[in-house]
């Protein structure tokens, strides 16, 4: 089945999801082209209402909010995407390995994960960031590591279930190597649940970055990101100004879009599996 045919078959909800994701990705990629101003350029007074000059008004220091939104998409989506990818590479890789090999390796990895999870994630992130300083690579590494523990637990639990099925035993009896068993027998069956988790994790990473930004340890100003834009402008609500709604809605919008697509994907894979 070709890719285009596949897309045509998608239900309306998934199509809506895909459009939302496309809009976001386009905004992120084309930010420098579309944006009317510079990312950190002050263009007017504080909290201007939306109008002809400023599509969405201005923020707490008088920067154009529309511009900030576009750059925010660029920064937040790319960083959150990279973080989630790394978290999944580490977490699911080790999780599947631990469940398949069992024994000491499993015990060691699982206890290590328990130790990391014993720290409240925010505190752990704060600790590491204040020791190593707040650069984007370190930010990515820390959040990815913290997130990978959750992915590890999920992947391991999934693999434990699949490993008990007889087709895995068949592969073992055939004499297949560890990598083959993980890649060909276990991973394809764990993939739907992992992909669904990917959508969810991706949204959580957003929120985590914004929490760190609020505490001054995330993305550093004047870099725009949606999370800190909500926090920084939160005070405006008290004056009846709707500015913080825009970045908050953007986060919600993208999260819903991703999950609509993920749902469709899950349903499709359940159809192949079921009966």
């Amino acid at each position: 089945m070709t890719f285009i045919k596949l897309l045509k078959q998608a239900p309306l909800s998934a199509k809506i999801g895909m459009v939302i994701i496309l809009i976001n990705v386009a905004a992120a990629l084309l930010a420098p082209v579309i944006a009317p101003y510079e990312e950190a350029q002050k263009v007017g007074s504080v909290w201007l209402t939306p109008g002809q000059d400023h599509l969405m008004g201005t923020d707490q220091v008088g920067r154009d909010l529309f511009t900030r939104m576009l750059y925010g998409a660029r920064n937040t989506i790319s960083i959150a995407f990279i973080i989630t990818c790394i978290a999944f590479a580490i977490g699911s890789g080790l999780g599947l390995l631990a469940a398949t090999v069992e024994g000491y390796l499993d015990s060691m990895l699982s206890r290590l994960v328990d130790i990391i999870m014993a720290f409240p994630p925010l505190i752990l992130a704060l600790m590491v960031l204040s020791i190593f300083g707040t650069s984007i690579p370190i930010l990515i590494f820390v959040i990815a590591l913290i997130d990978s523990t959750k992915v590890y637990r999920l992947a391991r639990a999934l693999a434990m279930d699949i490993r008990a099925l007889e087709f895995v035993e068949v592969a073992r009896l055939r004499g297949e190597g560890l990598l083959w068993i993980i890649r060909r027998e276990i991973l394809p069956n764990a993939a739907p649940a992992l992909i669904a988790e990917f959508g969810l994790r991706f949204s959580f990473v957003f929120l985590f970055i914004s929490a760190l930004s609020f505490l001054g340890l995330g993305l550093q100003p004047p870099t725009a990101d949606w999370g800190s834009m909500v926090r920084e402008n939160a005070g405006a609500i008290a004056f009846g100004i709707t500015i913080p709604i825009y970045p908050a809605a953007a986060i919600a919008f993208l999260t819903i879009g991703i999950n609509l697509v993920v749902d469709w994907f899950l349903q499709r894979s359940a159809q192949i599996r079921a009966q």
Binding site: L173, G175, E176, N189, R273
Partner: protein, 535 residues
């Protein structure tokens, strides 16, 4: 008019993915008070759908499109939900196949027994408890006054099934629908449950629908039998009459399954597998099987029989090397092989293949048939490209599946077809011995017979040996040369099939053999009578 249940030209349709399938078409059925009607057919025949429809219920996505279901003069098809709730449980009860899955593991048996009568306001909890004791006693459960205080996991499978029957009889219903109540049980426990069901419905003068795929079982309990196929009625009539002279070809086929026997006494010389003094278990010092000794010759069929928990599967795990034994040796081709699968040579692994009970979980749902069968070819023989494709097609041909299955996923195949794929996968390795672990027990009788025929045909062509692990003595009768009887982890008897079936030496073997239902309505009576005399 004594009809307690009357179904008139009932049609039920199911909707999936926008397609409509007819599940039942134009079914008529009458059930009198105190009468037992057996409904038989293979899976997908619509037996359960009919059983549920008798309670005015259809599964999600199904609809009664035509016809009527009259219970005691009352129409159920357009009854309100409230009316149906009132009827179900108190006037119509249902006994499912798997008691273990139907009981809530967190509540005691008697609590679950009391739920329905108390909820319907028929009894207080105390009365329900007394009723339970009475029924437990009638169903021959041990310790009827205290067994109700056990949790479901604290009683055996057969006892649990009887506890569930007691639950169904709790409100003295007019009709009980039994949906394969003994299918999940061993033959020896099946007898207890069958006898209990028969007595209980006789005493209460309850009418029953008895759904099963096993004609021999149904002939023990049912007064009349309906044969269903693809949602249509094939034949119905008095049990005796139908057994003696079936009209339709399909019914004849069903009847012939158990009667078919074959005698393949071949001379065997070359030993393929030898097990010497094996003790094995999952913890050191705790043996599940003990003192196992036997040989399998080339081209021979050996059957290991015994009920669940007798250590059959543990034995298979020892042979395949998944469970290294605590003591003893496994010899392949008269050469000792490593007890651990990870240390065996590829050639040893190739020569020993396995087929499993549940083809659904033995095939990776994410791999296409071409990959499932092709992988052993590529792995052991290094085939690739066109040569591999050709061989896969040849194997598909051998297992009598059309070649366009090459590009399908397992989920697009039926149970019997999946089992054929498992066979092809084993054959792809060109093995000397195939271990068949309960390969027919998840299949319908006619399909199972086809599979056994296929295995026999392949054996004549390729000359490998089979080790059957089974609790189904019909399989043994059909295919084995030699039989090994296991009981509580030990071999209690082993020898030639014919000798053993003719004159079993060990008491357990005799019990096991005599417990296989026969197509004779008097079989259960005679058997129970005989056993009573002996004890």
């Amino acid at each position: 008019m004594d009809n307690i249940l009357k179904i008139d030209n009932l049609t039920i349709k199911g909707y999936w993915d926008g397609n409509t399938t007819v599940l039942l078409e134009d079914i008529d059925l009458q059930l009198n008070r105190g009468e037992v009607l057996g409904i038989i057919g293979e899976s997908g025949a619509g037996k359960s759908t009919l059983g549920l429809a008798a309670m005015g219920y259809t599964r999600d996505g199904c609809d009664i499109t035509e016809g009527s279901v009259m219970f005691d003069g009352k129409e159920l098809v357009d009854a309100t939900k409230k009316e149906l709730t009132q009827l179900r449980g108190s006037n119509i009860a249902y006994v499912a196949q798997s008691a273990a899955a139907s009981f809530n593991p967190a509540h005691r048996l008697v609590q679950q027994f009391a739920e329905t009568p108390v909820r319907h306001g028929h009894m207080t909890f105390k009365q329900a408890k007394q009723k339970a004791e009475k029924l437990y006693k009638r169903l021959n459960l041990p310790f009827p006054d205290s067994i109700g205080y056990r949790y479901p996991h604290q009683v055996s499978g057969g006892q649990l099934q009887r506890a569930m029957i007691a639950m169904a009889l709790g409100c003295d219903p007019d009709i009980v629908v039994f949906d394969e109540p003994t299918t999940a049980l061993d033959v020896t426990t099946q007898i207890e449950v069958l006898a209990a069901i028969r007595d209980a419905i006789k005493i209460n003068n309850t009418a029953a629908l008895y759904i099963t795929h096993d004609l021999a079982v149904v002939s023990q309990v049912a007064d009349r039998v309906m044969v269903l196929r693809h949602g249509r009625l094939v034949e119905d009539g008095e049990t005796r009459e139908m057994l003696e002279n079936p009209k339709e070809q399909y019914t004849k086929d069903l009847l012939n399954v158990r009667r078919q026997k074959c005698d393949n006494t071949k001379s065997h010389k070359e030993v393929v597998l030898e097990i010497q003094g094996v003790d094995a278990g999952y913890y050191p010092g705790q043996n599940i099987v003990e003192d196992i000794d036997f040989k399998i010759f080339r081209g021979q069929n050996v059957a290991v029989v015994g009920e669940s928990g007798s250590g059959k599967t543990t034995l298979a795990r020892v042979i395949t090397g998944l469970l290294p034994p605590n003591k003893g040796k496994v010899l392949f081709d008269s050469k000792s092989v490593s007890p651990d699968v990870r240390q065996r040579s590829l050639n040893t692994l190739r020569r020993l293949q396995m087929i499993y009970q549940m083809p659904d979980v033995a095939l990776n749902p994410r791999q296409k048939i071409r990959r499932i069968i092709g992988r052993p070819l590529e792995f052991y023989s290094g085939l690739s490209g066109k040569a591999k494709k050709k061989k896969v097609h040849k194997l598909l041909d051998m297992i009598e599946l059309p070649s366009h299955y090459y590009d399908r996923y397992p989920s697009e195949l039926s149970g019997g077809q999946k089992q054929r794929i498992c066979i092809a996968r084993a054959l792809a390795a060109e093995p000397d011995l195939i271990i068949c672990d309960e390969i027919t027990s998840a299949l319908d009788q006619l399909v199972a017979e086809e599979i056994l025929k296929l295995l026999q045909k392949l054996q004549t062509e390729l000359g490998m040996s089979y080790l059957f692990i089974t609790h189904d003595l019909a399989t043994v009768k059909a295919i084995a040369d030699e039989v090994i009887v296991m009981y509580k982890g030990n071999i209690v008897e082993q020898g030639n099939k014919k000798d053993m079936f003719d004159s079993p030496d060990h008491d357990y073997t005799e019990l096991l053999l005599s417990s296989v239902p026969e197509m004779d309505p008097d079989w259960l009576d005679n058997l129970l009578l005989k056993r009573e005399k002996v004890s």
